[in-house]
Symmetry: C2
Subunit: 234 residues, 2 copies
């Protein structure tokens, strides 16, 4: 069975026990995580609280912090997936806190069998993992401060679309996301240009981030939570 939870605020309505849970925050937390891992970062520790995350620098972590779309004060990195492309952080551990993505991971990790990090840049790898270990799966969209957003639900729809031959799909949110993705798959950038978060990020001059986040299958790794750390696996 494959389901989609459209907001972390609705997660209590879903059974997580024994499931593969895919957390999605396309703009930009989960894309940044996959970019970091694919470019040599050894692990990412997601942390909900800003202060707690900032303090991790004392323990040798590189800190990455974002609130309301902007880099948080006192952090080395913000939330851009481009920060990792020059492979400057090979072998480093990152402690990361973001407005929506890390909260969604916190809420998912308690009961799930596996927590995966989903992004367009590793879509096919994530699809393959979910097919190879066919447990029931739940896709959790991080949204924006509890509200539904377009980019995360489009990605959820892409996953549902590619997994629909391998899973039973009786969840209305999954059907709607699949329909939304399939109706727009030939031109994702067009519908994404209407998204509120695109406008929010455009105001901060990070069009390059958005463009990067919409690339398909740049990387072959999956990102998966092991203990308190997200690591790359093949």
């Amino acid at each position: 069975m494959l389901e989609v939870c459209l907001s972390p605020n609705l997660i209590d309505l879903y059974e997580l026990e024994g499931k593969n849970v895919v957390v999605v925050d396309i703009f930009r937390a989960t894309t940044s995580m996959i970019s970091a891992l694919a470019n040599g970062v050894s692990s990412i520790t997601p942390i909900g609280n800003l202060e707690e995350c900032r303090k991790m620098s004392q323990f040798g972590y590189i800190t990455a912090g974002e609130r309301d779309g902007a880099k948080a004060i006192g952090f080395e990195l913000g939330n851009s997936p481009l920060s990792y492309l020059d492979r400057k952080y090979i072998g480093k551990k990152i402690a990361m806190t973001t407005t929506n993505g890390t909260t969604a991971i916190e809420k998912s990790k308690v009961k799930a069998e596996n927590v995966l990090i989903g992004a367009f840049i590793n879509l096919s790898a994530t699809v393959s993992f979910l097919k190879k270990y066919p447990k029931d799966a739940l896709i959790v969209c991080a949204g924006w401060k509890g509200k539904f957003n377009l980019e995360d639900s489009l990605f959820a729809g892409a996953l549902v679309s590619y997994l629909s031959d391998a899973f039973r799909i009786e969840c209305d949110a999954a059907i709607a996301c699949k329909n939304l993705f399939e109706a727009n798959s030939s031109d994702l950038r067009r519908i994404i240009s209407y998204a509120s978060h695109t406008k929010r990020l455009q105001n901060q001059n990070i069009e390059d981030d958005i463009e990067f986040c919409l690339n398909l299958d740049l990387y072959k790794i999956i990102g998966v939570l092991r203990g308190s750390e997200i690591v790359a696996e093949n």
Copy 2:
């Protein structure tokens, strides 16, 4: 501005003050309400609590009660919009409680300027009202026990589609619902046949109800909450 709230569980994230709020529970509460009013019922009092609603028969109300898709014990009527077509309840007051719809109304009525009852059977009348009194509007989908559902979001998408020339639309849920409706408007019945609630209702042999709920513009009235009663207006 026009927004869509995909679940009553997310309603606290939205500003309701001074807005026209449209509550949607296509299968079947809001369709039943419009059917009742269009067929001569004088008012409908939505009541969240089953016991409290049942007791209203002592005060001369016809009671209508539904839980989990079935007629609740001790009620004269269930939740079928067909119950009113023989015009047996002309001039009567109905006290109604349903699994999702009445809760969504309870949550909306506290701060909204107007609470409207939305259904495909009076879609154009509702569109006209919202254009005539152009306050900011919020469409609240009743969903199923807090979860997103297809039929309510398709109706929300129809409203957004017909109102998109008159309102500013910056809400991702509104954009997604509009897209979902427009991609499926030529054959709503096809996508609705996949909906979990359709399957839930089919198990109870009420295909006729579903068919009725998908008719467009059977009636020209709107349903609007005045005090504690929903009444018909033109």
